[in-house]
């Protein structure tokens, strides 16, 4: 019977993952900045599993400039800079398939578990990996 479930859920804790704060702050950027400096607690983000495909990590020194990653990337995230023979990745476009990681012959690319990538500027420092 659904009513048993209703009573149980009424007494249980809600299943919702809470927002970082209870109410909309005046400035989200300032809130996150304060939280980073340890002032003011926010509800932490849900834990992510070990193998999660998050923001790409690039080892510039290992890169040999073979452009294989550029060829396989479905979202055209990767820009090849021919003068340096290195790449620059625009994470704002990334679909997190990590095909470039599989393709890289020298293991210069990897995925991290970082996933808080929302930004108002697609060219911000946080969203460009090079």
């Amino acid at each position: 019977m659904i009513f048993v479930t209703l009573v149980r859920q009424l007494l249980d804790r809600p299943a919702t993952n809470p927002f970082p704060t209870r109410h909309m702050p005046r400035s989200i950027i300032r809130l996150l900045e304060r939280a980073r400096r340890g002032k003011g607690a926010i509800h932490p983000p849900v834990p992510v599993p070990a193998g999660m495909r998050g923001k790409l990590v690039y080892d510039r020194d290992k890169c040999i400039g073979c452009q294989l990653c550029v060829r396989v990337c479905p979202a055209r995230v990767i820009e090849f800079r021919s003068e340096q023979k290195k790449i620059r990745m625009h994470v704002a476009r990334c679909t997190f398939c990590s095909q470039c990681v599989d393709a890289c012959p020298v293991a210069a690319l990897a995925t991290s578990r970082e996933f808080l990538l929302a930004d108002t500027d697609r060219r911000s420092r946080n969203l460009i990996v090079e």
Binding site: I2, T5, P49, G51, L68, V72, P74, T95, Q99
Partner: protein, 418 residues
Amino acid sequence: MNNESQKITTPRQGKTYTIPIGPVHPALKEPIEFSFELDGERIVGVDIRPGYAHRGIEFMGMKRNLIQVLYLSERICGICSISHPLALTQAVENAAGIEVPPRAQYIRTIIGELERIQSHLLWAGVAAHELGFDTLLHLTWKVREKVMDLLEDLTGNRVDYAIPIFGGVRRDIPAAKGDLAHAVLRYYRDLLQGLMDAFLEDKSVEMRTRHVGALSRGDALRLCAVGPTARAAGVEKDVRQDMPYFAYADLEVRAITPRDFEQEPVGDVFDTIIVRLLEVAQSIEIVERALCEMPEGELVSIPKVAALLSFLKKAEGEGIGRHEAPRGEVFHYVRLEAGIEEPIVWKVKAPTYSNLMAWVPKFMGAEVADIPIIAASIDPCMCCMDRVHVADRSGRASIRMKEELIRLSREKTRRILG
């Protein structure tokens, strides 16, 4: 679609009026336009106009290399986000003659079935919402999170798992993750009876879904319905049973119909609930067996991506791939030419495309209040299905029906020959 509905429209009795539903309406999760002809609250005619979510994905695919197309295909549908890549990989493997190692076959099966669990639970929640039963929506979506978390753990992504690749899969399921999967499956096993009771024993759900949107077996066959829509009507049709692929032949999958619930199928909404919930149970069983029986071995037949790319560039031929997606059979066709990286032709037929016509007999004679749940009963996915958009900016565009197109093309052939 116009002529179809006109054929079925019953003669007008008294004054009827037309009510539009869509392209934007709370009952619709994606844009499609219905126009219902009503006699009071009763539906006496329906016209369906799709095309609002056409994205030209097939055309985009023909300008990308096959590995890029794979991830594009994943984005045809967000809910069956592995069904399209699974069908595409099969089509390309079929065209290029690539073998898939047995362990990879099993992993594809497991992820595919886990996706069926989450998709059916999602549907059950949507259906409950359409009935105004939000508690069941929140309940099913709450329990759905477990399988989403499992999928994220196994694949690294919550949706768009990026698991299949031509000739295998990209990630293994090691023993530790297998245990995790077993634990989640046990959770669902314990929970499923309660969920079945909540949906199938509830009086108000039964009042809203029994004998609503019925589809006869004959109509299901005539209109080529697929997936749970057809199975609810008693058609024992399932690609996993009829043409086993991946590990399904080893696992002895059987099409589920309401007969498994000791009910004679009538194809109504209640039957589609039965079929989908039983399929969740079936998927749990398949995944459990597949996890236990999974052989050791290679994951992929061409491990190096550079080698795979050059192999696919040399490949020539055409191939088809079909997969029993949660909503029914999904079908991909590709044609490859040697020396060209991009597929020459890529054709996708999503299950909703086949189920669309089943809406017409389902809607006829129903009431306005039944529209949302009947529309939801086939689990439609408009953006998977939309293949064309008719734009009418100049006022000159017109819609031509199949018979007229055949007549025109015959005339043209005669002109060319003559």
